[in-house]
Amino acid sequence: MASNVQTGEKPITIREALSAALREEMLRDERVFLMGEEIGVWGGTYAVTRGFYDEFGPKRVRDTPISEMVIAGAAVGAAMAGLRPVAELMTINFAFVAFDAIVNHMAKVRYMFNGQFKVPMVIRTTTGGGKQLGATHSHSPEAVFAHFPGLYVAVPGTAYDAKGMLKAAIRDDNPVMFVEHSTMLQRRSAVPDDPDFVLPIGKSDIKREGRDVTIVTYSKGLEWSLAAADILAKDGIEAEIVDLRWLRPLDMETVFQSFKKTNRCVVVEESLPMFSVGSEVAAQLQDKMFDYMDAPVKRVNALDQPLPYASEIEMMALPDANKVVAAVKEVL
């Protein structure tokens, strides 16, 4: 089974894991504070920060106007000056509004001033479609942010990972885009309550071992892949699932080791197919693992188009376990 055998006290939800991570880090370090839309009095639109305003007060739990450019940019300035902001962009769809601050300053002020400044900050945001929110509220563009050196991009898929990775992100001196999946917040797994439980940055995790095919995935893709692996197992096909957990740094070494064993790979992600995580993984496999390759790398993505409102057709556009099964059968 997985390397991170879950030895925690009790199963908690991803929401509770995120909340615990934030709370523990705020108690640990006075410089850590939260800022974002509706995180305080409202309690967070996904309820991750419920109760924080009462516990920590308005200085450390800072409600902002609806102003994504300054949420991201002020966090950069505060981080350069020595605080450790955890800024929240309600959804990743709104991160496009803040794109300049993220790409030009969050990612680059350290480099362009030759290392004079550190930017120890986190932007937490939620990704994903499947909720009938229409074309502008259903993006999964985390790979876009992973395009830029200077940033780290976290994409946890379990409560265990969410907690350990968020704590790592807050403690690190580099800027992190921390991307949670909006439809997975109720998923449970056992999580240590040790306040110093921190997972390494840029390390993927094998969530299921197998010999026949490597499924590379992250976030919601992990659920589809695990469900697909159960279906495949009934036919005697053993899929190995590599959960990337971080898109930057991207831990290809674990993928390569798995691929040397299985010689086949399917990449599963909710994002659009072009210029995607799947594109990158496939490119690196053909570059570094050509001699081990027994079949073309297949990608399971959303359809290459905007998402609609109506549930019947929205779900058609998104990946699911059956699509993963079909892709695996193509490479066997």
């Binding site: 504070f33 940019g73 002020a74 001033f113 580099n174």
Partner: protein
């Protein structure tokens, strides 16, 4: 001029002349191909830069856009290291990785020049938040051109600073043009300081940006206000004698207009003030000018003899260790 002694005023004069000579040399080096990329000269705006920086204490902060050489010099960055940056040398203030637009000194609380119009305004708010969060008596002076007042960053940053009572002076260096677009062709409200009302913040009014003492006094007042009460928006009326950047054909303004402003050159004006105030100061001013020429020559020599950055420099500082 209360409280301003001769030593201080002569030092301001030195700084203004240093900025002028330094940038004239930069233009020359640009023509020779020794400085690459963009080069945005501050010439004409020296009184605004020197007077405003003089109003800051060491613990205060300054941040600006890409027209940053003058402010970097005024804040006390070493001319040698600035010139080395201009020439892309590893001894430059940003290791040769920033260039003309990205001068900074963490030690001197000069938080840098930034190349995206308005992009540094939220950073200024964040730096001010640090001061407020830690209950430190510090003020952030955030410079911007008149053009920056029309980008979304301006609105979001000023509003947040007002909501959070952040100690920021938002200083518009109104030189009449955002690139080549005159203020009245770009802004419905041409008195840019009046936008303060819309944010519920202190309107610091306009100051004659060609008068170094007036700027010093206005920013000193604003700094006292900001440290106790929150943000101020003000406007320094100035003029750049050169184009927006090197190679600007300047079709948007007449030679006569430029000449009219040149007659009110802030350095000439300040020299006149000093000569009237201190008898026999002309000789001292001449000596200062000679010394500045030597400083610039030294800076160029240092920069030209400095090594280029290496591959190790190229790949360093993408991430913190």
């Amino acid at each position: 001029m209360a409280g301003l002694n001769k030593t201080t005023l002569l030092d301001w004069y030195r700084q203004m002349v240093l900025i002028r000579r330094f940038e004239e040399k930069c233009a020359e080096l640009y023509q020779q191909g020794k400085i690459g990329g963009f080069l945005h000269l501050y010439i004409g705006q020296e009184a605004t830069g020197v007077g405003s920086v003089a109003a800051l204490r060491p613990q205060d902060h300054a941040i600006t856009a890409y027209r940053d050489h003058g402010l970097a010099l005024a804040r006390g960055l070493d001319p040698k290291a600035i010139m080395a940056e201009m020439l892309g040398k590893r001894t430059g203030v940003s290791g040769g990785k920033g260039g003309s637009m990205h001068l900074a000194s963490r030690e001197l609380n000069f938080w840098g020049g930034y190349g995206i119009v308005g992009g540094h305004l939220p950073l200024a708010a964040g730096i001010a938040l640090k001061a407020k969060y830690n209950e430190e008596d510090e003020v952030v002076l955030c410079y911007m051109g008149d053009g920056a007042t029309n980008i979304g960053y301006f609105h979001e940053s000023l509003n947040l600073s007002a909501v959070w009572d952040l100690p920021v002076i938002w200083l518009v260096e109104n030189n009449g043009y955002g690139m080549g677009t005159a203020v009245d062709r770009a802004s419905g409200q041409v008195e840019l300081h009046k936008r303060a009302v819309g944010y519920g913040m202190k309107d610091g009014g306009r100051v004659d940006g060609m008068d170094v003492i007036a700027v010093y006094e206005a920013i000193s007042d604003a700094a006292r206000y900001a440290s106790k009460n929150g943000p101020v928006l003000m406007e320094s009326m100035t003029y750049r004698f050169q184009g927006h950047s090197m190679g600007d054909p300047e079709r948007y303004r007449s030679k006569e207009e430029v000449q009219r402003y040149a007659a009110g050159d802030p350095i000439g004006k300040f020299r006149q003030t000093l000569v009237e105030k201190y008898k026999d100061v002309a000789g001292e001013l001449d000596k200062i000018e000679d010394a500045v020429v030597a400083t610039v020559a030294e800076a160029v020599e240092y920069a030209e003899n400095s090594p280029a950055p290496t591959y190790e420099d190229l790949v360093a500082h993408v991430y913190a260790d």
